[in-house]
């Protein structure tokens, strides 16, 4: 099996699996006052310190969550509610047009139900938000802006956004800046920094930890309304019994992923460059989407290609039948592929967007994976383009 979908989820790292299993076997609620509780609490706090260390944050800034989607919801709704409460005029919510649905659907809900005025920030052909775009949008009425959110790296095309500059623009107007770093964390340096984002969403299972745990890094002093109410376990922002085993495994995965990232990034980028070059040799019409290879504006493990004249879901099915697993980008709840909103925002036509595949590499990727794809892609594209022609795809 050739797994080229690490951006969806990546295998658990051995050290994470070991930590996970060890803690799961032990009893203890981290909020209990007895010895078992203290033992669990110690694991949680050590894990918090590990995460804070790799993120350049204070341990108290790390709020554990149930994953990336919850982190995004907590940051956006929590910030919006808190800001509105403090200053009712702040209704504007600025987010990029290429956000993950965890962000887009959340702000759309705020718009539909909570009186927010949602504005989508344009991106360039590579999927990047320019600081000037944000500056112009902010300056239209800065006193009415509740928050800005721009992802650290794009989940489909892997474009790395200029987060530090964007945060600086927001801060010039006294506006808090959130970033969804679920794809970036563990691959490239993600740190809070002096002037960086005020809130950062990260998730464990994208870096070799378990599904169902993540964190929102919240800069000290930033006020969030909680989404869930209860025991107030995490700074009164997030309630629910702490997931001790998940948190321990998350910290173990994060420590390894971040320590290895510089070397691993170079290895993955070389593999990825090889993948793109050889696929384009086999399929000369294949178009790379997103930022150019070799630069810092692209995640090292991401290759996102359009195969003109083909439908992405035909390609996916034919590759799957050959044991090669990848993604068409966005899938709705019924499993139906829709043209990617990311590619459409980048200015691609609907047909171009429909004909795309994301190949994403991760810690278990090897040269043999690229070889298998290169071997299969020619006949697969030929078949899919026959089906595409029937569906009226021109391949132009």
């Amino acid at each position: 099996m050739t797994y080229l979908d690490h951006a969806a989820t990546t295998p658990m790292r051995p050290e994470a699996l070991t930590a996970y299993a060890a803690v799961l076997a032990d009893t203890g609620n981290a909020s209990s006052l007895h010895a078992s509780g203290r033992r669990a609490r110690r694991i949680v706090e050590e894990s918090r310190e590990t995460l804070a260390d790799v993120l350049g944050a204070r341990p108290s800034d790390v709020v554990f969550t149930g994953g990336g989607t919850e982190g995004d919801n907590l940051a956006l709704k929590g910030l919006y509610w808190a800001r509105r409460r403090a200053e009712p005029a702040r209704r504007r919510v600025l987010v990029s047009a290429v956000e993950h649905r965890a962000v887009l659907d959340t702000v759309q809900w705020l718009g539909a139900e909570q009186g927010a005025e949602v504005e989508l920030l344009d991106v360039d052909a590579a999927g990047m938000v320019h600081p000037d775009t944000l500056a112009v949008a902010l300056e239209r009425d800065p006193a009415a802006v509740a928050l800005v959110s721009v992802m650290w790296a794009n989940s489909e095309v892997g474009t790395v956004e200029p987060v530090a500059e964007l945060a600086a623009v927001a801060h010039r107007h006294g506006v808090p800046f959130h970033t969804d770093a679920v794809q970036a964390f563990g691959q490239i340096p993600v740190t809070v920094g002096e002037e960086g984002p005020d809130a950062i969403t990260v998730s464990a299972h994208k870096i070799g930890g378990p599904v169902g745990v993540g964190a929102l890094v919240v800069r000290r002093g930033l006020v969030l309304e909680p989404l869930t109410h209860g025991g107030g376990q995490e700074r009164d922002i997030r309630s629910g019994t702490l997931n001790t085993a998940g948190v321990a495994a998350f910290a173990a995965a994060a420590a390894t992923a971040c320590a290895q990232a510089p070397r691993e990034g170079a290895r993955l980028a070389a593999l990825r460059d090889d993948l793109v070059r050889r696929v384009q040799e086999k399929v000369p019409g294949a178009v790379l989407n997103g930022a150019p290879l070799g630069g810092p504006q692209r995640l090292p493990g991401n290759a996102h290609l359009t195969f003109p004249g083909c439908e992405g879901d035909s390609l996916l099915m034919l590759l799957d039948a050959r044991g090669i697993e990848c993604s068409t980008g966005s899938a709705c709840s019924a499993g139906v592929a829709r043209p990617s909103h990311v590619l459409l925002a980048m200015g691609a036509g609907e047909e171009h967007a429909r004909g795309s595949l994301r190949f994403s590499l991760g810690h278990s990727s090897r040269a043999a994976d690229v070889d298998a794809l290169v071997e299969a892609i020619g006949p697969v594209v030929e078949r899919a383009s026959r089906a595409g022609a029937l569906a009226g795809m021109t391949g132009a």
Partner: protein
């Protein structure tokens, strides 16, 4: 063989796929997403258009251990089936959307795509038999026979189709599903039009066509017996729901005889005036020459009479040995020799 199994989420297509697996084929399950905004749960007796149906299909594929995908054909279905359904009603005809879906979606768009992608055949859960020589025959279960909705398919469409259920009754299919551990074994049959939620076809059409009031006129006396809101709410042969303001002069029940959308007039008359002895159909599939003695079926259930059929250019002219009642333009006529399907067409004109 590499086989694509169209899986609606119902018991029939699940068992059909299972039989294809047992036959040693390399089977891939595909659920067709036909609705642009699928409802999350099934309501009433709708067939295949909810997310719950997609989930049921996926679970059946899991049990069979076959790969499963969803193919989005919503746009195609809307233009080829739904829009034509509305236009047809607006023009005073009574379309059969299942016939249309088989002709344009399942055994056209899906089949063509499957063949292009390297599949050798498409398996469905239709209750009909397809012999090795390409002859389509009725199912052994007369109550569930679906050869009528397949009867207008051309030989090249049937050529790559497989119907593994034709030799079984529905009861046998359900028992087999239960024995195979398929959760859909006792899922209710679908009856209603899959894209009309709640089964209110008149209301659904009113939303799309709009209210166009007109008179209900008696064929015998020429008297206006009532008013209506739009001709689309009527089907030739319909008796109930006419809501006539005045009884007919002879006091006998009235049936819809004819619909004129241009003048928005519904003509009603006594039952015997519904009798049809001759009809002209657009020739969809009729690979025969000269006059062929056969039996004609003019609606999905019942309405089978002895007939003679003959192709004239693009028309198929059918003369019935005994009158049938309430046959409407837009329906399919399918011609049989015993249980063998000879071909069929779309009824354009009917005559007494």
């Amino acid at each position: 063989m590499r086989v694509l199994a169209a899986m609606s989420g119902g018991v029939d297509s699940a068992v059909a796929a299972a039989r294809a697996v047992d036959a040693g084929h390399d089977v891939t399950g595909v659920h067709l997403a036909l609705s642009r905004s699928p409802e999350s749960d099934r309501t009433g007796a709708r067939g295949c258009c909810t997310l719950e149906d997609a989930r049921d299909a996926r679970r059946a594929a899991d049990v069979l251990g076959i790969p499963f995908y969803v193919w989005d054909l919503a746009e195609r279905f809307e233009t080829e089936v739904i829009d034509q359904f509305v236009e047809s009603y607006a023009a005073g005809r009574t379309p059969n959307p299942c016939v249309r879906c088989n002709e344009r979606i399942k055994f056209a768009a899906v089949l063509d795509r499957a063949l292009a992608l390297g599949f050798d055949a498409v398996v469905t859960g239709h209750h009909a038999r397809l012999d090795l020589d390409g002859t389509l025959r009725r199912s052994v279960d007369p109550a569930k026979d679906q050869s009528y909705v397949l009867g207008t398919l051309r030989p090249e469409q049937l050529g790559a189709a497989r119907f593994p259920l034709g030799d079984s009754t529905k009861a046998q299919v359900r028992r087999e599903a239960a024995a195979r551990g398929l959760a859909v074994a006792d899922k209710p049959d679908s009856h209603d039009i899959c894209f009309i939620s709640g089964g209110d076809t008149g209301g659904w059409l009113r939303e799309r066509i709009g209210s166009r009031p007109g008179p209900i006129v008696d064929s015998k006396s020429g008297q206006t017996l009532g008013e209506h809101d739009g001709t689309f709410a009527f089907t030739v042969g319909q008796r109930r729901g006419l809501r006539l303001g005045h009884p007919a002069p002879d006091g006998r029940p009235r049936y819809v005889l004819d619909i004129s959308p241009v003048t928005s007039t519904v003509i009603v008359g006594p039952a015997e005036e519904l009798d049809i002895r001759r009809l002209v159909a657009d020739r969809a599939a009729w690979p025969h020459e000269g006059v062929v003695t056969c039996q004609a079926q003019v609606r999905a259930h019942g309405g089978v009479v002895a007939a003679e059929a003959e192709a004239r250019g693009d028309d198929l002219v059918v003369t019935l040995a005994a009158p049938v009642r309430g046959t409407a333009a837009g329906q399919a006529v399918v011609l049989y020799d015993g249980d063998r399907v000879l071909g069929g067409g779309h009824i354009r004109v009917t005559a007494a």
